[in-house]
Symmetry: C2
Subunit: 333 residues, 2 copies
Amino acid sequence: MGKRRSTIADVARAAGVSIMTVSRAVNGRPGVGDGTRDKVRSIAEALGYRPDRRASALASRSSTALGIVFPDMANPFFAILAKAATDTARARGLNVFVMNTDESPTRELSAFASLHEERIEGIIVAGSRLSPSKLGTALEAFADVVLVNNSTTGPNIANVDVDDRSGMIQAVTHLLAKGCTRIAFAAGPRVSVSAQRRLAGYRTALVGGGLAFDRRRVVKCTPDIEGGRRAAAAILELDPDVDAIIAYNDITAIGVMRGLADAGRRIPEDVAVIGTDDIPYAALVRPSLSTLRVDIPLLGHTAMSVLLALRDGTPLAPMAALEPELVVRESSG
Amino acid sequence: MGKRRSTIADVARAAGVSIMTVSRAVNGRPGVGDGTRDKVRSIAEALGYRPDRRASALASRSSTALGIVFPDMANPFFAILAKAATDTARARGLNVFVMNTDESPTRELSAFASLHEERIEGIIVAGSRLSPSKLGTALEAFADVVLVNNSTTGPNIANVDVDDRSGMIQAVTHLLAKGCTRIAFAAGPRVSVSAQRRLAGYRTALVGGGLAFDRRRVVKCTPDIEGGRRAAAAILELDPDVDAIIAYNDITAIGVMRGLADAGRRIPEDVAVIGTDDIPYAALVRPSLSTLRVDIPLLGHTAMSVLLALRDGTPLAPMAALEPELVVRESSG
DNA sequence: CTGTTAGCGCATTCAC
DNA sequence: GTGAATGCGCTAACAG
């Protein structure tokens, strides 16, 4: 099987020109006559020549691949975000390494290491599970970084955020208006910045509404359906008369609803539930889930656009955080 | 900012050894004394040295990255599949390029081109939207290929399949037992092999059950929620008395249920609905969705294991197709 | 407009 | 057990 891929040298030989001419012609660089360019291109085509991006990256000291790192691809929020981001990159002819960390800080670090070993220079990190200092250190390996929902800063770091505090204030205000007084919070991972922000917003709104903040009403949980289910059970144990639960995100909220149903609570009559993100399934579960809507594809597209701008050296105007919008459905209706 | 990354040469200089010794020590190859290896490693560590995988791949003519291509990352089936597959690869120290094709054959081709340009040698393709001949041709660029739910064969191709026919027969049999006689089918993309197999199974089971196959009861649709919604409307137009709809996959089925609800049909009293895959949300939507369960993480893990075996040259026993299992829930209960 | 020289960071293949 | 020479496929920086 002499299935050796043809290289730029093969094309040059077949076309009777130098390697550099082929390089210029194939990459659409100036400095080649029209006739030569067309001839070289058709020969390249005939030979099935495809440039080797690794070699080209090595020689030019600049990669055409990017990376995106997030905790859980099975969470539609991150899947949709990544899809939008990679689509945006692809439109520019850039490939992206998608790295799933399974909620593990260790694996997040190893994802960064892998990306660095591929000499990826620009990455998006969504929902980091690392402490700001560890994250900042790890990020030094990259030229351009966009952080989604994380406030860590640095000379090479841009931030794209959702206004979590504002969202939570909307949610709590809505529940207060409904007459809820025992509002619990199913918090996400302690290390998640958005989890912290959401918790802070919850607390602020509670106090602003004249209710006491009671840390016993805050239950930490893993950010998946099962984690939400367990959180609901824990909350009911601490306060059997709880009348509302706000969850860190939609999949957690869906789990909370399951846990509530397991315990025989009616939603929203006994306990109202509100999530965050508005993943597509929020509207489809039973009961349908009230949530704080975020335009997830826009978020992903924005993050990648900012990364591309960073890469291009385009100056960036500081960005306002995306404003979530409360969508009231059955779970709090 | 003299932030140049340290290279193997820097480590060699600092350690007072040759480049080759560093290479061997860092990669754990034999031919280095224990003392030398430890010394080199600690110096490499201190310098923050990370091997450049592109350069290493270029020199060794073998890549440590793999690829996975599928139509829609927002579909939990593919997201979970990809997550399992990448996790399995990561455990072996291999990175993977995740490529989303947005259901477009053109973009699928361009995904293959990108992967080839990165000189990726092993890929998984799930749910290809290309004709067998075009797919076969495109796949020649790769040394090792695993096809999920696609019967295209080739010298370098292994197949991992779900037994779609068997699944559909289970579904139809179940509906017949319930007394359904006007069973429609919301078919996926014509170019999808599993869509074809599922349709064939539906047809076989129908005829086997003594019912006529009526092609007017088969409505093609895009494999997303909206596609399912429109398919339901189309089916109701063609046969207002339809009493069951089987859908190509779960997200389509969820859309079908929405369409049915929009038209005022009760599920399952008026129309029963059955999906395929058992994505996590199938159990959570209203009404909960009967479906053909597939162990999606196992499927992804298996596909990657087969790819790794191919890569290693390990001989493979021919694999039986994964058997889906009918899960009866409210939508057909 | 086109070609030549040098080298990106690393591994292979030999020497010693 | 260790090192020197050579080249992977490509591009930057010049030369013509």
